[in-house]
Each structure stands twice: as structure tokens, then as C-alpha cells.
């Protein structure tokens, strides 16, 4: 999985001594360290001299020392801080703020150079996001934009980014049509690329037939249900008995459940929106859907299960982020979030934290706030694999890819199965 070039990003942690000891270039991770040392366009963020192999990195980094003019580099972020997507938007910006705090405290960008984010709230409105994006893209003082998290907004803003030639990095925005050219980047792997990681569980449980229930007005879920699930079915040889798309305004699921019960599949894959997931699962359970019948979910569904707790026990899916992930860079990040916000880190935190570091490192690598130079540096950096809060992330045409891991709801929280 690892590419030859490996960039070490997102490990600046000056001022967070607890985090420092977990820094990814600790001696235990020899493979990583070796790969790092070989990299030519190394971007080293580490400021700690506490460990012996950092000196080598610092030496290499020094060769490429860039001096940016002192001052504040302001990038624009368009995010949903209010409205239905605010639960994701607020956590996303917390991730960005944490990264910014570290970047500025560590002096990553050089003496007297800081980075800040001008945050625009789109109110979970695609139109609003597009208008804000258009304005920012036309402002030559904006070097790079952190894009809206709404897919519906991103498919509109990406063509604007390409036309105005401003680099944009997205998190979330998981639908097709978002990463479309040289200027568009995405740090959240789209769900269809890793949903199939649940395949090992499907094989283990001997699942031969499956019915699918998905929100037919959510691009990410449509793409997963209509592409990733059939692809996995072809791959593993299970049969899809039905695939039912329902609007995300559906509140009662007794009818589709009745239909599915008649089909009697081994597993039901549920990909609905928000409270719908809790309703479907509890109504499935009330209808007698119990082990050995299986329920499969999708990344993010854990946010909707609090009110049904025990009923969702056994729900299984592939995730890209978990606080118990064995990745050291993830553990360091989880500790930092805990220290800063007192909560368990969420995927939204992680994605934007990494994306913010990518922006800072691209500016540093470009040694410029010129849009074109930043884009080229970002393209270069994402040409390899990046290790950060999300663990090891590779990119395919500037779009993030990870191998997911299987998680399961234990009645109270999600736990890593493998």
C-alpha cells in the first residue's frame, strides 16, 4: 500500500508535550522513519529535538528552508456551522482550529508567519455556499479555500475553482463530481471506496443474500448503495435481493421492512440519514430481526445510535476513523483533541485537521501564497501517502483513499473488530 514517497505531515506538536512523546517519528516506527529520510521533498514539521533521529530530518529540512514574508496568511473556509449539517461542520472546524493552533505555535511556516482561517457559515445551504465560494474564488488575496462539506454545494463550487484556478481542499463532500481537475482536492475518502472493507465480515458470517435500504436523495449514500455494494456482491458472490431507495424525509419504515422480511435475506445494509437510521434499526428489531440475521451500516451511522443503544447491538460497518485505531499518528491526534476539547475525536475532526496541515505544508513547500504554486505543491504532496490523524492516507487523482477497518456497535459505542 505504501508508495515510495512518503510525506510526514501533521506531526507538529510544539507546546503539547504529552503529544510529543507519541510523535510518529519515534524510534519504534523504523519503516516510516526510513521512508521519511529518503524522501526528497521532505516537509518536516517536527520541531522537537528530543529524539535522536529527528536531527537527520531537521538537517534535510534545513536544506529546503523557505522564508515566507512575515504576516498572517488567511485562507477561507466555507462550512455548515448552523442548519442540519452543523453537527459535522462544528466538529470539522474544531479539527481545523486545533491544527492551526499547532501550526502557529510551532512556527511551522517560519518566524512571524501565521496562518488563519476566515470562516464563512453556509447555514447548510448549497446556494449560500456556492455564493460564498464564488466571492472568495474571485478575491485574489485568497490563496486557497477549504471547501464546503455539503456534496450538493461542492459539485457547484468545484467548477468555479477550476475556472478561477484556486486550489480547494474538501473534507466530506463525498459525492462524484467534486474532485474534477487540477485544482480540486479531497481529504475524506468517499464512502464507496472503502465501504467494501466490511467484506471480510460478510465472508466470515457466510452472508449469501442481502437487501439494501438507502436514502435516495443523498449522493454519497446513493453512490455507495448503487455502486460499492453491487461491486462487493460481484466480488464476494453474494446476492442482492432488493435495493430500496427512500427519500430522507421518510419517517416510518414499516412498509419497506415488511417487504424485506418477505425476501428473508441474511443481512440488511442500512444507509439512511440521521434519525432515520435509529428508526429503521429499532423497527427491524421490533419486527423480530435478530442474530444470526445481520445488520450492516456505514461510516458515520454511530452518530445516530445513541437513542436506541442496545437495539443497534451487532450493527457492523467499515470505518476510516476510530479513537482506538492502532496508528500512532491517530493516537497522537486523539490525545490532542481530548486535551483541547475534552471529547473523543470524531472523523470530522480528523479529516479537517489533516487537510489543514496539508494546506500549511503546501504553502511551505511552495514557499509562496501564489495559488498556482500552492496547487502544484499540493498536487505533489498528495502524489504520495500522508500519515496523520486519519492514519495513512494515499491519494488517487487528488482524492483520498484509505483501507477501512471493520467496526461494530456493542450496544453503547462502536468498537474495532479488526
Amino acid at each position: 500500500m505504501y508508495r515510495s514517497k512518503k510525506h510526514r505531515l501533521g506531526v507538529a506538536a510544539v507546546g503539547l508535550s504529552a503529544v510529543l512523546t507519541l510523535a510518529a517519528c519515534s524510534s519504534g516506527d523504523s519503516e516510516d522513519t526510513a521512508a521519511t529520510a529518503e524522501a526528497t521533498e521532505e516537509v518536516v514539521v517536527e520541531e522537537s529535538a528530543a529524539e535522536e533521529d529527528t536531527t537527520q530530518e531537521e538537517a534535510e529540512a534545513a536544506e529546503e528552508t523557505c522564508v515566507l514574508p512575515p504576516g498572517d496568511i488567511k485562507v477561507v473556509s466555507i462550512d455548515s456551522m448552523t442548519g442540519p449539517a452543523a453537527f459535522a461542520g462544528i466538529l470539522t472546524e474544531e479539527g481545523a482550529d486545533l491544527a492551526l493552533k499547532e501550526i502557529n505555535a510551532s512556527g511551522l511556516l517560519g518566524d512571524g508567519v501565521t496562518m488563519s482561517i476566515e470562516l464563512l457559515d453556509d447555514g447548510t445551504s448549497g446556494d449560500e455556499a456556492a455564493a460564498q465560494f464564488s466571492k472568495a474564488a474571485k478575491d485574489p488575496d485568497v490563496p486557497v479555500i477549504m471547501g464546503p462539506i455539503l456534496s450538493s454545494a461542492a459539485v457547484v463550487t468545484s467548477p468555479i475553482a477550476e475556472k478561477e484556478q484556486v486550489p480547494v481542499i474538501y473534507t466530506q463532500a463525498g459525492s462524484p463530481g467534486v474532485v474534477i481537475g487540477d485544482y480540486t482536492f479531497r481529504y475524506t475518502p468517499s464512502m464507496d471506496t472503502y465501504w467494501g472493507s466490511v467484506g471480510s465480515y460478510i465472508e466470515e458470517k457466510g452472508i449469501k443474500t442481502m437487501s439494501v435500504l438507502y436514502a435516495n436523495d443523498n449522493a454519497t449514500l446513493i453512490n455507495t448503495a448503487e455502486n460499492a455494494v453491487p461491486a462487493l456482491a460481484a466480488d464476494l458472490g453474494f446476492e442482492i435481493l432488493s435495493s430500496t431507495g427512500l427519500p430522507s424525509s421518510t419517517q416510518d419504515f414499516k412498509a419497506p421492512i415488511s417487504k424485506i422480511l418477505k425476501e428473508d435475506p441474511d443481512a440488511v445494509a442500512i444507509m439512511m440519514v440521521g434519525a432515520q437510521n435509529a428508526t429503521v434499526i429499532s423497527q427491524m428489531r421490533e419486527s423480530g430481526w435478530e442474530s444470526p440475521k445481520e445488520l450492516l451500516g456505514f461510516a458515520g451511522i454511530e452518530n445516530n445510535l445513541a437513542d436506541i443503544g442496545e437495539a443497534a447491538k451487532g450493527l457492523t460497518w467499515a470505518s476510516i476513523f476510530h479513537v482506538d485505531s492502532p496508528s500512532e499518528s491517530t493516537q497522537k491526534f486523539v490525545a490532542a483533541v481530548k486535551a483541547e476539547y475534552g471529547v473523543d475525536a470524531a472523523n470530522y475532526h480528523a479529516e479537517r485537521y489533516d487537510a489543514t496541515y496539508l494546506v500549511a505544508n503546501s504553502i511551505l513547500a511552495a514557499c509562496s501564497t501564489d495559488r498556482q504554486a500552492i496547487r502544484d505543491a499540493m498536487a505533489d504532496l498528495t502524489n504520495g501517502s500522508i500519515s496523520g490523524a486519519l492514519g495513512d492516507v494515499s491519494f488517487e487523482n487528488q482524492d483520498a483513499r484509505v483501507s477501512g477497518f471493520v467496526v461494530q456497535w456493542d450496544g453503547e459505542k462502536m468498537v474495532v473488530l479488526k
Binding site: 448552523t82 442540519p84 452543523a86 453537527f87 462544528i90 412498509a255 419497506p256 437513542d307
Partner: protein
């Protein structure tokens, strides 16, 4: 089949519970209250906040939601709708202003709940109520379903009979048909309006609590979804007719249920709103509605 009929009837009862208060307010005091959905949501939200602190059972949760709904509705009537009606130059201008006022009002509780929950779903899992599942002759029914069926059908039929047979019901009907004549008959509109809003708000609160139990969790936007359905229900049955609400609820619930049962689901919205358009074209006053009374 029996199971499907039972489930569809439960869905119809949910629509009745939600649409009843909205229809009553619209058909009598002439307020098409677009904030009804947010009263529904916010009543459940208040109960949720309490249940987070104190593990209450269903009767207490329902009572909290009903009182909250009634208070919110009365406050809206007193602070917004009544002043609008008073200032309106003529009834038609007033109607439009009421709709706009309702839309504006509905945003306040929704934003508040969105901020407070970060738009995550919420439910009564902090309370002591447990859903019980019973299987009777192969048909599955839960205690929540039984309560919803009794409340929905009971209150629907009860309210319809009350409007039909009581003096207050007669006065409300008169207000709905012709406010000018009602005034000449000495009917105290502001007082009746306040009482109607109170009842409607309590019903919204009841619906909010019971639906949250039934669906296990709802979101800040759940009321808006139901508002559209209630709109369809009321138009189908006929504005001003409480039996029309019952009929409309059954038609919409069974249509939706049937579509979901026999198709892949993408048609459900099209069919329910297709029904609505069909009624608007062939019988604009609704199935049980009366032709618009000519006013001069």
C-alpha cells in the same frame, strides 16, 4: 397482510395526531400555522431535555410535551398571530401575513434545537419507558403502537364529534365559515382563537412525544417533514372538516404504505403529492370539504 394493515393504520394515526390541531386552527380561526411542525418538534425537545436529567416514564414525558406545546402555541397566538390579525387591513392580507409569520416563527425553535443538539437526532432514551413487543396470532404490535392507535383514532373521532355536536364546536365552525357573520352573532373570536391554539399546541405536543417514542429518535427538522404531510392530509380531506383529517390521513398513509410495499420506494413522494394535485384539480374543496361559501 394483517401486519401491513396494522402498520399502515398506525401511520395514519400518527398523521391524524399531527394534522388534527393544524386542521382545527386552519378551519376555524383561519390560521394556516406553518409553525405547527416546530411546536411539535420543540415540545418533544423540551421533554427530551427534562428526560436527560430525570428518568421519567411515558405519562410524565407526554404531559411535559403537551404542556410545552400548549404554552408555545398560546404564546405564538398572543404575541404574533393576534397582533397580525388585528393590524390586517382585510382578512385576505391577514391570511398571507399569518403564513409568513408562521414560517418565520417556526425557524426560532428549530434553530434553537439545532444548536443545542448540533443537529443530532434526539429521543427519550434517558427516560424509564421501555417499548414492549407483543405477538398476537403472528401479528407484531408494540405498546407504543397501541397508545398511538388509541390516541390518534380516539382524539380524531372525539374532536370531530365534539365539533359536530357541541355549542362551542358550532361557534368554531361558524368562525371558520364566515368570521364576519360570526362576529355579528357575538362570537368572541380572540377568546376562541386562544383556546383553539391551546388545544392545537397540546395536540402537537402529544404527537411530538408519541412519535418520538415510536420512531425512537427525531431531529430538529422532523416537524417540517410532517408539516408537508399534514398539508396533504388536510387538503385531501377538506379544510375545516375533522372527519376529513381522519380520511385524508388514512388515504395518505395507505397510499404511501402501498407504494413502499410494492415499488422500490422512489415513487413514494410522487404518489402522495400526485394524490394531492389530483384532489386540487378535481375537487379543490377536498373529499369531505364544503364548497367555499360565497362572501360579499
Amino acid at each position: 397482510m394483517v401486519q401491513d394493515l396494522l402498520n399502515a393504520t398506525t401511520l395514519a394515526s400518527i398523521y391524524i395526531l399531527f394534522a388534527l390541531g393544524m386542521s382545527l386552527v386552519w378551519g376555524t380561526i383561519g390560521i394556516l400555522n406553518f409553525a405547527h411542525g416546530s411546536i411539535f418538534m420543540f415540545s418533544a425537545f423540551v421533554a427530551y431535555l427534562v428526560v436527560q436529567q430525570i428518568p421519567l416514564g411515558m405519562p410524565a414525558v407526554v404531559a411535559i410535551a403537551m404542556v410545552s406545546g400548549a404554552l408555545i402555541a398560546v404564546a405564538m397566538q398572543y404575541l404574533v398571530f393576534q397582533p397580525i390579525m388585528k393590524k390586517a387591513k382585510n382578512p385576505h392580507a391577514g391570511e398571507l401575513q399569518l403564513v409568513i409569520g408562521g414560517i418565520g416563527l417556526s425557524a426560532i425553535p428549530i434553530s434553537f434545537a439545532q444548536r443545542s443538539t448540533l443537529s443530532n437526532p434526539f429521543g427519550f432514551s434517558g427516560g424509564s419507558f421501555e417499548t414492549q413487543v407483543y405477538t398476537i396470532g403472528g401479528v407484531i404490535i408494540t405498546n407504543v403502537m397501541i397508545i398511538i392507535l388509541i390516541a390518534g383514532l380516539g382524539l380524531g373521532v372525539g374532536t370531530a364529534l365534539w365539533i359536530r355536536n357541541s355549542k362551542k364546536g358550532l361557534a368554531l365552525r361558524a368562525l371558520g365559515v364566515d368570521p364576519e357573520v360570526s362576529a355579528m352573532m357575538g362570537i368572541d373570536r380572540p377568546k376562541l382563537a386562544l383556546a383553539t391554539m391551546l388545544y392545537s399546541g397540546a395536540l402537537a405536543g402529544l404527537a411530538g412525544a408519541l412519535l418520538t417514542y415510536y420512531f425512537n429518535s427525531i431531529t430538529s427538522e422532523s416537524g417540517d417533514t410532517l408539516l408537508l404531510k399534514a398539508f396533504a392530509v388536510i387538503i385531501l380531506g377538506g379544510v375545516g372538516s375533522i372527519f376529513g383529517v381522519i380520511l385524508g390521513s388514512f388515504i395518505l398513509a395507505f397510499a404511501e404504505f402501498g407504494v413502499l410495499l410494492y415499488t422500490d420506494g422512489s415513487w413514494v413522494t410522487a404518489v402522495s403529492f400526485g394524490l394531492l394535485f389530483l384532489i386540487l384539480i378535481i375537487r379543490p374543496q377536498g373529499i369531505l370539504g364544503k364548497k367555499e361559501v360565497r362572501r360579499t
